[in-house]
Symmetry: C2
Subunit: 328 residues, 2 copies
DNA sequence: TTTAGAAATGTTTACGTTTACATTTGAGAT
DNA sequence: ATCTCAAATGTAAACGTAAACATTTCTAAA
């Protein structure tokens, strides 16, 4: 209800001083600022960030557009990011991509209308290309998360290539050799881990399952066909389908087969499954820091593509029956 | 870059007509509106919602303050709610409670500064009481989600009492009699289900575990002590600890003991555990609808407390060894 | 004292809309 | 043609703040 004019009046100063007091401007006498703040408190005055945003052209709003919230990976990232952004005086506007054809670019348009200063998003396709161009014109910063299809935009990526490499390496170290890669992500990294110990990865051990509406039959069939001694499943969906397939084939881990997940989603720890995890807080803090940096530093010289390294969380599912306890 | 003045100029009309064209005001000739919209498109004009919000006093912003995001229950609710709100021209500002003493009321204060028209929150304690009062003064609508400690505020609750009742009833129907209630939620509902079939619930079968930092020891001890034939675990944390305890005691479900979860979190389906689930989309749509209604209908006559009914998702963990297939 | 210069405060305009009010335009009746 | 009333459009004043600029007040050296 009360605005800066009311506060000014009560404190016996001008409206400009009120503004200064609230921005700890050095151009105001500390005692006066004190008095103003006191008056503001008495009136329950809260600065109107909408008006402030209009005048200063700094909305203090940052948008995030989430395409696949099913991926539980995002949740803690969003949380930590919001906390970090708020600490810097920014608020987070969240929108979801519901899967409809132009949902992503529609969300970006809404964000623009809301005068956000920057947007984080996980580009799903390149349908938003035109929108990306308009963001550029308006000097609104964009940061692509996770994937980076737009080459001329800053990005914060998770190094999945490295992730698959260490996952494969972990399995090889545990003694597995016939490793089935369900999801077939980063085949070169997969191969590289094999090559490093003088082996070769058989292409038959790569299962492209992402396009399937239900990957279960495909996975089951392939397991039955190639008789792997371990399975590396990429992401939640493939993991669930693999668990289902293993159950269906009466294969228990780690007794009958090794099992490892790429992505340390909620159920993974409950099932004692070894996984590749992402350093959530690092990602969140990096993302928050990066977008704020893009906003504050007007011109960006060159792109910055950060690459976050995932890590292995060893659990029981990759403990070979014979080995009681591996040193590493 | 372009503002309504630019559009007005290009379309050869006044700035007021531009505003009218964008609000499909009946007071403008359709052909003129057409021309204005065309000009706007040519200039890539996007209305400035910040300016609009300032003048019209309708920020079109709705806030949500999340206290325990760990509860995966919220995620889909947030998603569906955002989609529903956006369809009505509102955007969602999200903030998290990081657990610090005044985090919740601090978030509410920030929301107020951002001129939101309404806020959804899950009150954790009553520390925000003063803030709630200020929201009332400013006529900003509040809707408590999940819990409802503020009696004079509208609420959208999940009927946990009913949930515990149907959970207990389900277990009783499956033939279990020595049911341990880990979490001890809604003891009266628990008792009621027993009473309905002429039995009595022994208080020793209620475990208050929410205060524990690690409920595992307590749960394990109690299971060993009272030898239940089934366990009903309330919420994620207790469920995880119970699984751990069962494993530790070498009790398998459903062979050795029945197991049921209150809350159908991510891992529950993977472990084939019967659960009480919440109708996510109903909750989301109801919440969105309710807050918008509170906002548009100036004066509210009386409070509206909606109560969402959860339901049972039967799975293998409550299938008694003897019974091959229960009819219901 | 005077006075320069810094420090503190005040005045005013503009941000991009919405909206009450004023004005113009048009259609149909006289 | 003239008039009336509605439809269409224009004018101008806010909304609450930030910030450039103007003014006043203080400090301390002359």
């Amino acid at each position: 209800m009360a605005n800066s004019r009311d506060v000014a009046q009560r404190a016996g100063v001008s409206i400009a001083s009120v503004s200064r007091a609230f921005h700890n401007d050095p151009k105001i006498k500390p005692t006066t600022a004190q008095r103003i703040l006191e008056a503001a408190r008495e009136l329950n005055y809260v600065p109107n960030l909408v008006a402030s945003g209009l005048k200063s052209r700094q909305s203090k709003g940052i948008g995030i557009v989430i395409s696949d919230i099913e991926n539980p990976f995002y949740i803690p990232v969003i949380k930590h990011m919001e906390l970090a952004l708020r600490k810097q005086g920014y608020r987070l506007i969240i929108m979801f991509d519901d899967g409809e054809p132009n949902s992503e670019s529609e969300a970006l348009l809404q964000m623009m209308a809301n005068q956000v200063e920057g947007v984080l998003f996980t580009p799903k396709d390149t349908r938003s290309k035109e929108m990306v161009g308009r963001y550029r014109e308006k000097q609104i910063r964009l940061l692509q998360l996770y994937t980076a299809p737009y080459e001329d935009l800053d990005a914060l990526q998770v190094d999945d290539d490295y992730g698959v490499y260490i996952a494969t390496r972990h399995l090889l170290q545990m003694g597995y050799r016939r490793i089935l890669n369900v999801g077939s992500s980063a085949p070169s990294a997969f191969q590289r881990a094999f090559a490093e110990i003088g082996l070769d990865a058989d292409p038959a051990f790569l299962v492209r399952a992402f396009d399937e509406s239900d990957p279960f039959p495909l996975i089951k069939e392939r397991i039955a066909a190639v008789k792997p001694d371990a399975v590396l499943a990429i992401a939640d969906r493939n993991g669930r389908a693999t668990i289902q397939a293993l159950g269906n084939l009466s294969l228990r881990y780690p007794q009958d087969i090794g099992f490892m997940m790429y992505d340390d989603v909620a159920w993974v720890s409950m099932l004692n499954v070894t996984a590749i995890a992402h350093p959530i807080e690092v990602i969140a803090d990096t993302a928050a820091h990066r977008i704020l940096q893009l906003i504050s530093c007007g011109q960006q010289h060159g792109l910055v593509t950060a690459s976050i390294k995932p890590y292995v969380v060893p659990r029981g599912s990759t403990q070979r029956p014979g080995d009681d306890a591996e040193g590493c």
